[in-house]
Assembly symmetry: none
Homo-oligomer: 290 residues x 2
Amino acid sequence: MAEPAKSSPLNELRIALPSLPMRLQEVGRFVAANDYDATTRSMRDLAAVAGADPAAFTRLAKAIGYSGWDELRAALTEARRPSQTSPFSGRAKSRRHGPDADVALITDKLEAEAAGLPRISTHAIADAARTLHEAKRIWITGYRSCRSVAELLNYELRLFRPEQVQLVGASGPDDLDLGAFRPGEAVIVIGFLPYTHASVRVAQAAYRAGAKLIAIADSVAAPMAEGADHALLFEAASSPGFFPSLTGAIAIAQSLAAVTFSLGGAAAKKRLENTEARLAAASTYVPEKG
Amino acid sequence: MAEPAKSSPLNELRIALPSLPMRLQEVGRFVAANDYDATTRSMRDLAAVAGADPAAFTRLAKAIGYSGWDELRAALTEARRPSQTSPFSGRAKSRRHGPDADVALITDKLEAEAAGLPRISTHAIADAARTLHEAKRIWITGYRSCRSVAELLNYELRLFRPEQVQLVGASGPDDLDLGAFRPGEAVIVIGFLPYTHASVRVAQAAYRAGAKLIAIADSVAAPMAEGADHALLFEAASSPGFFPSLTGAIAIAQSLAAVTFSLGGAAAKKRLENTEARLAAASTYVPEKG
DNA sequence: TAGTTCGTGCAACAAATGTTTCATGGCCGA
DNA sequence: TCGGCCATGAAACATTTGTTGCACGAACTA
């Protein structure tokens, strides 16, 4: 009993998938991966592309609780209906109690974050990327929740500049790295209110060492942004009483990496391809099914 | 001759409309206004809704240059295919050279990400949060770039449930943790295309152990989302040639943490306050200046 | 080992689809 | 007013659709 929410037909399919016979799993995955074609093409067409028996689709539909393929397809069709883009469009925002309160809370949060993204200064990011491009070495710092942003940046930059990018504190105490800053290098510090002492120390160390400083922060008043060569600002403030939002910081980090890669030109592309080839060779990834 | 650009079937229809017989105009307008149903429902269904003769649809198709209704519908279907991820397709996207190219690139990226955020299923997040709330223990997994999301989630959840949240692989090889999954616990897996083998293994381990599985992924077709109790989907596809976007995943993670905290009520609030007090006492943060 | 169940492909089935034909009715020009 | 033309709806058509019954083979049980 207590079905876990029959929300969408794709969901039901996904949930039931592991307990299905092998061939039904195959066609089920095919439907999940090509749900648009599932709603528009005929069963036999799908079977031909998927390399399966037409009957399998009927059986699949019945296996997950529908009377037949027609009914499943109708459900998929309704789920994809474009006018349904915002099922909450009413925006009643009852906000009172019950589960709806939580939903409204998320909706508000997402909308606020979506609104904040376009406010990011793209020119500042482009300038900062140029600094990164010219840097002999790149240090990245982030503490507490900002550590996740720092690590993402570290990961993406290392994809095409593996030897020159390093996370501060990755291979020992931070203090060791702080002494290693040199002119011609770039230091990225990520942080927002309340600011950690450690991040401020990094910023100061970068300043003293004559390294370029790029601050990703929530305010020009942030201590680590003071005197930074580049200040990339995002909006962290969100629904009161909750953790600040890192969505903007992540968006900045990703854009920064993308532009830096773009500036890297053919050389960066080559490096990235090498990295990807190495990962593929190690069979890190699940092969895509044609 | 000299067709005025056969861009989209809807366009051809619109252009040819005035020169058509009255009843064909009616049907044509109906198709233009309900093109989604035109691609999914049958000709007779449409005729019933439009209050017209089924044959009119065939005649309409032939009147604007198609061999029949099937061919027109196929054209409409292709025109609506979602793989053309750019709803802004108009977008001249000068993209030429110079510094403006980079700026335009970031702007596009941010806009696309902002558009993707409201499409996240808030109900699914609320449901998943309820599962987390009831879980005796919470495991979090993410590899490669998704590790940053996993760590953010780990950080935020540990703020108010320190003893019950753990990053898979944080204290030794992953395999040790995989064997520790138990019924009544929750496992969160984050990943997108290309999927790592490791993340799929975690999902399977969770399934076998009878633990609740929450998948944060870019598609219902993601291997780790199969059979998951909750699938939270975001859009990772971004500007071609660049890394997939994690903005959506971060937004989901933050919302999940926020709602879970909200469900925790007074107890969670108390825990969070304790944690904050401890951090402040260690003078981790720079004091705010009044 | 023998018996049973279950998954799977093939082929035949009835229903539904798109198309065509035909008859009707209105319109315009002679 | 008559005759040809075209638009239109209804019905018959061949095709395609989704479905189901059946047979074969693998996996499991006793």
